[in-house]
């Protein structure tokens, strides 16, 4: 335990925590996006998928138990990720008390330089998203268990859809840098696989962003109802 604590105290230790929790969250958003696409198979399929998530693990686990375990792991990941991010940002600020008159980036990507902003955009989005589709408290006509209805009715409100789209673009920037960066942080990256990880980040980002954005867009266009 004290060894883990010592490890976390170091700069690399905190980065590794960010990378591991980032990997968990990355895996989650990919699976979640794929699940979302079930909306195109109609009400029955996606509602059944929601029920499947609750029933996961039966008969060993009781109804909803595995889902709650997954939620706790995700929540813990988000908490650790944000805690390490804040600590590292403060550490980095302290290391450069006096800046330069002007300094243009040479090869740092736009995505890498905006991680501090895309992160909080995702955090705000996650809070709204949970209130919107999970708790239903900010939804105009929430029906527990009727995912199809909730999605269609939710996205008919254009500014809600617009917020989802903006948040997904933010998530895209975060993933584009993060998914490559995490392999570098974990020491898995090297020259021979660097291009592969860069491409993986690009492809996964486009898939997650396009897949998710397609849903509010098709709802607003009236293509699914």
């Amino acid at each position: 335990m004290s060894r883990l604590f010592l490890f976390y105290r170091s700069s690399i230790g905190k980065k590794v925590v960010m990378a591991v929790t980032g990997l968990v969250l990355f895996g989650f958003v990919v699976v979640h996006m794929a699940g979302n696409l079930k909306v195109y198979q109609g009400a029955e399929k996606i509602n059944a998928y929601g029920e499947f998530l609750r029933a996961m693990g039966s008969p060993v686990f009781s109804h909803g138990q595995v889902l709650w375990i997954a939620r706790i792991v995700l929540l813990a990941s988000v908490a650790l990720h944000i805690m390490a991010a804040v600590q590292l940002i403060l550490m980095n600020r302290r290391a450069r008390p006096v800046g330069y008159t002007h300094q243009d980036p040479i090869q740092a990507t736009y995505a890498s330089r905006t991680m501090i902003w895309s992160g909080p955009v995702i955090a705000l989005f996650v809070i709204y998203h949970l209130l919107h589709f999970t708790a239903g408290t900010v939804h105009p006509s929430f029906r527990a268990g009727d995912i199809y209805h909730n999605v269609i009715a939710g996205f008919r409100v254009w500014y809600v859809s617009a917020f989802y789209i903006v948040a997904m673009v933010g998530l895209g920037f975060h993933l584009y840098h993060g998914v490559w960066s995490l392999f570098q942080t974990l020491g898995i990256n090297d020259v021979r696989v660097d291009r592969f990880f860069r491409r993986l980040a690009a492809v996964a980002t486009v898939a997650v962003v396009a897949g998710n954005i397609s849903i509010p867009v098709t709802v607003l266009l009236g293509l699914i109802s």
Binding site: R3, L4, L6, F7, R9, S10, S11, I12, G13, K14, K15, V16, L88, M91, N92, R94, A95, R96, P97, V98, G99, Y100, T101, H102, Q103, D104, P105, I106, Q107, A108, S112, R113, M115, H177, W180, S181, F183, Q184, T185, L186, G187, I188, N189, D190, V191, D194
Partner: protein, 247 residues
């Protein structure tokens, strides 16, 4: 050619410092950036003013003593080049050039463009060495080393410790320097006995000095006069992970 310089002048660590404008006239395009400073300084000395302090030694790009931030870029606009090897032909006649010292909390300004890089020495003292009995030198080729390992170790060992990586990193991180030093010994057989202890102690020392942490911007790699790759940072992370969690 003529250039206008805005140079950071600071009398001592305690002084607040400010930019001062100098005109460098009739400079040969084949002069190095430091030679231009020599000319400017001769003028200052002739007028009884305090010359601009800057670090330099070999002026051959091999010692790592020189370093200044030129128009926001550590060591100036030419890739893979120290400022002592940068020539005025890399600029245009009439250019205005801003010159600042390395900026990082662990590198306090001593005077003008000279900073204290003792933090790097303390990182090396924490583990950037191998322990061997002294005495007669062993035969150079007694231990066979695979060519790819030797080449990679040489790439890392080409670090001259100038500090440009820290100066360029928006986080003031010393990861490229530390990674190069950890890797060049860690890649060779002679470095194995102390490999785990080395990486742990050097990372602890690096953090203790107050450097920032890496966010994989790769700005360090872009300014490194020896073009050392950030692949060594991944290698150090891997070594550090193993050394901290596996034994």
């Amino acid at each position: 050619m003529d250039v206008t310089l805005h140079v950071w002048r600071q009398k001592s660590a305690a002084d607040r410092g400010r930019f001062v404008r100098y005109e460098a006239r009739n400079i040969s395009p084949d002069m190095s950036f430091l030679e231009m400073f020599d000319v400017v300084n001769e003028g200052l000395i002739a007028r009884g003013e305090d010359p601009i302090a800057f670090d330099h030694d070999c002026r051959e790009g091999i010692c790592g003593t020189c370093g200044m931030v030129i128009n926001g870029v550590a060591h100036g606009p030419r890739r893979g080049t120290t400022v002592c090897q940068l020539h005025l032909r890399s600029f245009r006649d009439g250019d205005t050039i801003t010159v600042e010292p390395w900026r990082a909390r662990p590198f306090p300004v001593i005077k003008d463009l000279v900073v204290d890089r003792g933090a790097f020495d303390r990182i090396i003292q924490a583990g950037g060495f191998i322990s061997v009995p002294t005495g007669s030198a062993p035969d150079a080729n007694a231990i066979p080393i695979p060519k790819p390992d030797a080449d990679l170790a040489m790439d890392a060992a080409s670090c001259i410790g100038c500090g440009a990586c820290v100066a360029a990193c928006p986080n003031g991180a010393a990861m490229l320097f530390t990674a190069a030093k950890v890797s060049h010994l860690g890649l060779l057989p002679q470095g194995q006995p102390e490999r785990r202890q080395r990486v742990r102690q050097m990372v602890v020392a690096m953090d203790r000095e107050g450097f920032g942490s890496c966010t994989n911007y790769a700005e360090c790699e872009a300014v490194c006069p020896k073009a050392i790759s950030i692949r060594f940072i991944a290698r150090m992370n891997r070594d550090y992970l193993k050394a901290s969690l596996m034994e």
